[in-house]
């Protein structure tokens, strides 16, 4: 039962990924693309968690943690780039 659930969810997440990617490619504004990228990060956190449960191994937790941490940094950097161009000033 759980496995079916996991299977369904992985399907959902896959779909989610695709949708975000579509937005990323489609745009239209650059902000949209950044938003899409951010969403992709979040989706992949979920993806890794599912993967961890799927494999029943806790080894991938840190990966999720890192995405949560670093995804924020890169989003922030991108936005700063749009705002100021110079992200470290």
């Amino acid at each position: 039962m759980l496995n079916t659930a996991l299977f369904l969810v992985s399907g959902m997440i896959a779909l989610a990924l695709l949708l975000s990617l579509w937005r990323l490619i489609r745009g239209t504004s650059i902000a949209d693309r950044i938003l899409a990228l951010d969403t992709l990060y979040i989706n992949s956190i979920a993806l890794i968690i599912i993967l961890g449960m799927y494999m029943g191994s806790p080894l991938y937790f840190e990966a999720a943690l890192l995405i949560a941490l670093l995804g924020f940094v890169s989003t922030a950097a991108l936005c700063k780039y749009l705002l100021r161009g110079d992200i470290i000033e």
Partner: protein, 931 residues
């Protein structure tokens, strides 16, 4: 032992002039002459043995592997040449003392001269044919220096280069020829080579070897068609010309032919090449000489023709002709040296060498005139002078030879014709210079040369006469031994006498005389006739050829090496594809028989996203920021793939690296154009796409073929020993810090070096901050969004904690120093982004450079720690401890090593990013690009 000193003393002698440079001119000359004089003396010491037919040799080991040894060998031929070189050398030194002016750097000149002398001696005395070549090239080099001695004169420079080029080329051919001979004989020892004539002549490679060696000889001794460099060598100071033309340089080629006579001669090929070349040279030289207005020019061409004569003699394959050749070598050396010196005197005293100005010098310098006339007479082959005798023998030989069959008669006829011209130009030399009216506006008023300047000439002229009158008494024995040594067999019957009765040769000489005088008498018609032809200037032609060569090379390089990176990269990739194509074809079945993993939906979607993102990165490559965003999606998916295929460490590393790279790219992009202009030609696009497709296909195929085949790797060892030997359960990390620690050390070094290099790049970079973005919109005013700063600063401690956590668990769980380092760095960079450089600079005082150094040092010293336990570098240590409350925990040297990694990563990353942040200084508009 004395033999060794003969070349050795002059070799040392090259330094003498430079050492005594401070002394007076005369004493310089004296000391210069000293060592060669001793050598000459030693040479005479060897005379008895040599004349008794002995062959003296001495040799030392040098390069056994190359069959090279320091070997000297003295036989009659060598003795003769050594005599000429050293004897005439002495006279030249004396002569030069008075010839050279105050301005000239006399010590340098002498040193060159002696070097040249040494080289010549080396050639004639070598007992090893490779060593012979060694000195052969040395003559080319030293003559280059001598000819170019007056380097301020253009023609001197060009003449020198021409001589070097021609003789150098010949030298290389010679080397090839000698190596071939050596291969055939199996040794480079001269005696052995000379002993195995038949072996060589029968060998298939004989023609090749012969041609190559003769190329060497002909270029050196200015045989047609390589004669053109010799006249250019006149631009050297006259003592040099005298030496070059008489006893040395040009004689080297003759010597070579004489030396290898027993080995190479006696075949049709030899005759055809050598004698015909000689004949052509003889005629050409003699004819051209007549029309030269420059005295030295005339003499130069006469040298050419006499060398041709000698060559012709050597080519005729009869023993007597060889004897005649040797005889003429001596005679020519003597009279030509004297003539050049005389010419030098005239030049020196009148300031010109042009015979159209020089007239009637008889009454100004009767003494010199007499000497010159004797020399000229001997050159013309007038009886009672030495030239006559060898000329007679020459005519006799031309009559005997039959190799040309029904055409044989041509040889004596043409020989006579040549002599006719040589008589004519000799006549001109005498009449045109010393008589023929009054001199025409000479630079100087001519008078006799200083006493000692004439002595050398007098000595030589005396020799001309003495040999001419008492040949057998003066040179009989010498000629005999020399010829004997040349032939390597018993001597033929011959008789050195002035009078052989009325015979054909005498008639030919008589005709020659008559014809010569007649021609000179009506020379104006001949001159007028000759004037119709433009005189080809060898120098110009040669220079033109050289220029053509250089230009065409330049064009080739221009077209090939167009300094376009795109082409170079294309070539690189293309070549690798070509090379890989062959084996790919041998690969019969792509798919191996390893059980494969079934595809699951999630991975499939992942792959699809990867593909789309990659393609998007390419398609958007002209909108750089978008392309960058797509790129980071690719990076994200790649790290997910690592996670999917059981590589948590890689996933973590990839993630953190990817973020830092993204920040870096943003920093760089800020100073670069935001969009790429559309400049690639469709053809190029198609071409690149094609190559890219091929590469992708090939790499993909190889990858598929590889991963679908089973593999027995060494990995089992690491899995077994990671815990017991490395003290960690995270095998990947144990491999990094222990099994393959050196890789990691190198890796962090690379990172550190990169940081240093980037710092180097940044320090001097002058870039201006764009005041508005690519669309022209001014930047937002708020520098540090409040919310961002607040959250960033509160995130920092957490991030640090996480990095410590990642660091500590690295040895047993996914993580480790590198990832931890990156997390820390990113956390700090986040502060830079949120608060700005200045704010951080005031609060955070870390010298990143020291951090890097300490990191690498920590890792290295940790590795060296094992030395104290007498174990190799990087031998790890670990142990488990347990304390009452804390329980069991592990300490490992690997941890310390990893700390080094951690520090280096932080140092490097921050050094790069923070300094990049500091970069921009003033707000002035971006660099205008003319695109």
């Amino acid at each position: 032992m004395g033999l060794l000193w003969i070349p050795l003393l002059p070799m040392l002698g090259t330094l003498v002039p430079l050492l005594v440079a401070r002394f007076s001119r005369s004493s310089i000359a004296f000391f210069t002459a000293l060592l060669p004089a001793i050598a000459l003396f030693l040479l005479f010491q060897q005379a008895p043995a040599v004349f008794s037919g002995e062959v003296l040799t001495t040799s030392f080991e040098w390069i056994p592997l190359a069959g090279l040894e320091v070997a000297f060998r003295l036989d009659g031929l060598a003795w003769l040449f050594a005599l000429l070189i050293l004897g005439i050398g002495q006279l030249i030194i004396l002569y030069a003392r008075y010839y050279l002016s105050e301005k000239d750097n006399m010590p340098l000149f002498y040193s060159y001269l002696i070097l040249f002398m040494t080289a010549m001696l080396g050639i004639v005395l070598s007992g090893n044919i490779i060593q012979l070549w060694f000195f052969w090239e040395l003559t080319s080099i030293s003559s280059f220096l001598l000819i170019g001695f007056w380097s301020h004169k253009t023609e001197a420079r060009k003449g020198a280069r021409m001589a070097l080029t021609v003789t150098g080329a010949g030298g290389l051919a010679l080397l090839a020829g000698l190596l071939l001979v050596g291969d055939i004989v199996g040794s480079y020892d001269l005696s052995l080579v000379l002993a195995s004539g038949d072996l060589i002549r029968e060998h298939a490679a004989y023609p090749v070897a012969l041609v190559l060696i003769l190329l060497g000889a002909f270029t050196k001794s200015a045989q047609f068609p390589f004669h053109f460099w010799l006249p250019q060598a006149m631009s050297a100071p006259t003592p040099v010309s005298a030496y070059l033309h008489s006893a040395t340089m040009v004689k080297a080629g003759i010597f070579l032919m004489a030396r290898f006579y027993p080995v190479l001669s006696g075949t049709e090929l030899w005759f055809l090449i050598v004698s015909m070349t000689g004949l052509a040279t003889l005629l050409l030289g003699a004819y051209v000489a007549l029309f030269k207005h420059d005295i030295k020019g005339l003499l130069a061409y006469s040298t050419i023709s006499h060398l041709g004569l000698i060559t012709l003699l050597l080519g005729m394959n009869t023993q007597l002709s060889t004897v005649a050749a040797i005889f003429h070598i001596m005679n020519h050396a003597v009279f030509k040296a004297s003539l050049f010196m005389a010419a030098g005197i005239i030049d020196h005293e009148t300031g010109t060498r042009d015979m159209r100005q020089l007239n009637g010098l008889w009454k100004y310098m009767p003494h010199t005139a007499t000497l010159a006339m004797v020399g000229a007479a001997s050159m013309a082959g007038v009886p009672l002078f030495n030239g006559f005798l060898s000329k007679e023998m020459f005519f006799a030989e031309t009559l005997h030879q039959v190799t040309l069959g029904s055409l044989s008669w041509m040889v004596p006829v043409l020989a006579t014709l040549g002599t006719v011209f040589s008589v004519a130009y000799s006549a001109r030399f005498i009449h045109d210079v010393f008589f023929n009216g009054e001199p025409i506006n000479l630079p100087k008023t001519p008078h006799e040369a200083p006493r000692f300047m004439r002595i050398p000439v007098e000595v030589l002229v005396a020799l001309c006469l003495l040999v001419g009158i008492f040949p057998s008494f003066i040179v009989g024995p010498l000629l005999a031994t020399a010829s004997g040594a040349t032939l390597g067999t018993a001597l033929p019957e011959y008789n050195l006498a002035i009078w052989h009765g009325f015979n054909l040769p005498l008639l030919m000489s008589f005709l020659a005389m008559l014809g010569g005088l007649v021609i000179y008498y009506n020379r104006k018609y001949l001159f007028r006739f000759q004037a119709q032809f433009p005189e080809p200037d060898a120098k110009l032609i040669f220079e033109w050829l050289m220029q053509r060569l250089v230009n065409s090379c330049h064009n080739i390089m221009q077209t090939l090496e167009n300094n376009a990176l795109q082409r170079y990269v294309y070539l690189l990739i293309f070549l690798s594809m070509i090379l890989m194509a062959g084996p790919m074809i041998d690969l019969h079945t792509t798919e191996g028989h390893k059980s494969q993993i079934p595809i699951d939906a999630l991975t499939l979607i992942g792959a699809i996203i990867l593909a789309i993102a990659a393609i998007a990165t390419v398609l958007f490559n002209r909108k750089r920021l978008v392309s960058l965003i797509c790129l980071s999606v690719v990076g994200l998916i790649v790290s997910l793939a690592f996670a999917r295929f059981s590589a948590p460490d890689l996933a973590l590393t990839q993630l953190s690296v990817e973020v830092v790279t993204m920040i870096l790219m943003l920093l760089a992009l800020f100073f670069l154009p935001q969009n790429t202009p559309k400049e690639s030609h469709p053809r190029r696009l198609v071409r690149d796409l094609g190559l890219a497709g091929i590469v992708g296909g090939v790499i993909g195929t190889i990858n598929y073929a590889m991963i679908t085949r089973p593999l027995e790797s060494i990995s089992w060892f690491y899995l077994e020993n990671s815990k017991i030997g490395g003290g960690g359960t995270n095998v990947v990390n144990v491999i990094l810090v222990d099994f393959r620690g050196l890789d990691t050390l190198g890796e962090i070094s690379v990172l550190g070096i990169a940081a240093l290099g980037i710092f180097k790049l940044i320090v001097r970079m002058r870039l201006y901050m764009p005041s508005s973005d690519s669309t022209g919109r001014p930047w937002a005013t708020g520098r540090y969004p409040m919310m961002l700063s607040v959250v960033s600063q509160n995130l920092l401690p957490l991030a640090l904690l996480v990095s410590i956590y990642i660091f500590l668990r690295g040895h047993n769980m996914p993580g480790g120093g590198f990832i931890a380092g990156l997390i820390t760095a990113v956390a700090i960079i986040q502060q830079y982004i949120a608060h700005g450089v200045d704010w951080i600079k005031d609060r955070l005082r870390i010298n990143y450079q020291w951090l890097i150094a300490c990191g690498i040092l920590t890792a290295t010293l940790t590795g060296m720690g094992s030395w104290f336990f007498d174990r190799p570098f990087l031998t790890s240590w670990f142990d488990y401890f347990s304390l009452p409350i804390f329980g069991k925990f592990e300490l490992a040297s690997a941890m310390l090593f990893d700390l080094g990694v951690y520090l280096t990563v932080i140092g490097a990353t921050l050094m790069i990013l923070a300094n990049l942040g500091k970069l921009t200084t003033s707000h002035s508009p971006a660099i205008k690009e003319n695109s």
